[in-house]
């Protein structure tokens, strides 16, 4: 009976213990507790937003964590990062380290490696980290806009101040406009209001009437039945007719010159024929001379 009980208890203890140990071992293995870690040291002038356990990212993937933060004897913060075995390959001698402070979310250390073929970073080397601050970047971007808004607000404030001020520009303009419209309502014409003298307005009116008469006369002289412009038009028509005739005459001249050119060609041909005839006659004379000898001792060659 006791043996049976012992067996049951033993079985229970062994199975549950194995389950617990296996779970913890699997968890530890998954968390990389058994993998070898490499440590690298970085430096920074400030420890702000840096904390132990902070993730170290490469290409957005977590490759390690910040292990320890401490100040050296010169007051510079030394940051020890721990990177497990397979991930230390991403940290090379030309790697750069930056502390990224996003606008929203927690800060992180980012490793950037441009040349993966460069040698590994030796553990004794201390590299300085650069700080990328989203908040400051955003403030920098927003600053000009804020300055402009500030200017606009100042202008609006000035305008509203001006509006509120009874002696301000706007109120003065309004008062002037009021005076102007009041004056305009009192005067008969704008000229009278501008000059302030009714006589001047009358003289301007008379001058305008005279200008109008002159314009009517000029119009008659220019566009009337016997005016200048119809006469010019008639002359131009005559010139066009004459030019057409002249054009025909010029065509004839061109034709005649072309014929003359052809005739000179015929002359050349005629001369060539005459030359040929003269040559033939000379040859004939020579032959006749041979046949009818004029010489004392003719010599006839037999074929």
């Amino acid at each position: 009976m006791l043996k049976k009980t012992e067996f049951k208890v033993g079985l229970f203890v062994v199975i549950t213990s194995v389950l617990i140990v296996a779970s913890i071992a699997y968890l530890a293995y998954s968390k990389g507790l058994f993998t070898r870690e490499h440590t690298f040291t970085l430096s920074s002038t400030t420890g702000e937003d840096l904390s132990e356990g902070m993730p170290v990212l490469f290409s957005g993937y977590r490759i390690g964590r910040v292990g320890k933060l401490e100040l050296n004897d010169k007051g510079i913060l030394l940051i020890t990062i721990r990177v497990p075995e397979p991930h230390d390959q991403w940290i090379r001698s030309n790697s750069t380290f930056s502390l990224y402070k996003p606008l929203i979310g927690s800060s992180r250390l980012i490793v950037t490696t441009n040349d993966l073929s460069s040698p590994s970073l030796s553990p004794g080397t201390i590299r300085e980290i650069t700080i990328i601050n989203d908040i400051n970047e955003t403030i920098k971007k927003v600053q000009p806009t804020l300055e402009k808004i500030n200017e606009v607000v100042t202008n609006i404030e000035r305008i509203t101040g001006n509006l509120a001020d009874p002696q301000g520009d706007v109120n003065r303009i309004l008062r002037n406009t009021e005076t102007l419209t009041a004056n305009l309502s009192k005067k008969e014409t704008f000229i009278e209001m501008a000059t302030g003298n009714p006589e001047s307005a009358k003289s301007v009116n008379e001058s305008l009437k005279k200008v109008k008469d002159i314009l009517v006369k000029t119009d008659e002289q220019l566009y009337g039945d016997d005016g200048t412009l119809p006469l010019i038009r008639k002359i131009l028509k005559d010139i066009i007719v004459k030019l057409e005739k002249l054009n025909a005459a010029l065509d004839n001249v061109v034709k005649i010159s072309a014929d003359a050119s052809d005739s000179t060609k015929d002359f050349k041909l005629l001369r060539a024929e005459i030359d040929s005839t003269v040559t033939s006659i000379a040859k004939l004379v020579k032959d006749l001379d041979k046949i009818l000898p004029s010489k004392k001792e003719p010599e006839i060659k037999l074929p």
């Binding site: 009980t5 389950l19 968890l27």
Partner: protein, 261 residues
């Protein structure tokens, strides 16, 4: 008025005395646990029997209860997570709530209800029947023979049963996450692993050990406080169980404070 203040003072003094008494008893037991001579054959036999009565006998009932309670709990938690749109915290909630908090708490309640009360009554009866004095007469150390095996049994049982509860609850959680979220088993395992922290597991194991230690120690001490009168047995059991539940709440709160630190 004076009487009322006197009552408060008396109650406070009694509470302090009880707390001091339990702590003193706890140190005595702890000292014996780490002594090699405590582990004799008689003690080992009692220990095996105690584990059998507390853990193995309860196992079928505990397994069924774990599956039902775990499934119910995980189902409710997952449904709430889904309704509140907190799916990304699934792993953290399951590990933090179910594994670290609920499973030790449920286990310790079950063990306390079944075994602690039994131990309390057993020791009180032995005290009334003068069995403890008889053992002492035969030079049998009651601490080694009776108390240490029961308290070690409490620690081992709560630790193992709680782990079993966690495993069963998380397994049923796997099925529920598949049904509610359509989450594959691989994804579920990865979510849990990502959320699990060795520190949480340490706290969980320590908490289970402390729970197991005190839910057996307090009933034993309470049983010892019974007089020679038979009517003192139910009083001792009642007082012992009340102290056990206060201790459970106290340890739970203390562990929560420790985790939040």
């Amino acid at each position: 008025m004076t009487e009322f203040i006197e009552k408060i003072g008396k109650a406070s003094m009694n509470a302090t005395a009880t707390f001091r008494d339990i702590l003193f008893f706890a140190f005595t037991i702890l000292a014996r646990i780490f002594q090699k001579k405590t582990y004799n054959s008689a003690m080992k036999m009692v220990l095996v029997n105690q584990i059998y009565f507390t853990s193995v006998q309860i196992l079928p009932l505990f397994t069924v209860l774990s599956i039902i309670l775990g499934s119910l709990l995980i189902g409710i938690v997952l449904q709430i997570i889904k309704n509140l749109g907190l799916a990304e915290y699934l792993g953290r909630i399951l590990m933090g709530l179910v594994v670290t908090e609920i499973s030790p708490f449920v286990t310790v309640l079950l063990v306390a209800l079944r075994s602690s009360s039994a131990m309390n009554a057993e020791i009180a009866v032995m005290k009334v029947n003068k069995e403890l004095r008889t053992l002492d007469t035969y030079n049998i150390d009651v601490i080694d023979y009776l108390f240490v095996p029961r308290i070690i049994n409490g620690v081992v049982s709560v630790l193992l049963l709680s782990a079993l509860f966690s495993i069963l609850a998380l397994t049923s959680g796997m099925i529920f996450s598949k049904l509610i979220f359509g989450m594959s088993f691989d994804v579920y395992t990865n979510v849990l692993l990502k959320s699990a922290d060795i520190y949480d597991i340490d706290i969980y194991l320590i908490k289970c050990c402390i729970f197991g230690f005190f839910i057996t120690l307090i009933p034993i001490r309470s049983g010892l406080s019974a007089s020679d009168d038979l009517t003192s047995i139910p009083i001792a059991v009642l007082q012992g169980m009340v102290k056990v539940f206060i201790a459970i709440i106290f340890i739970e709160v203390l562990s929560l404070i420790l985790i939040s630190l």
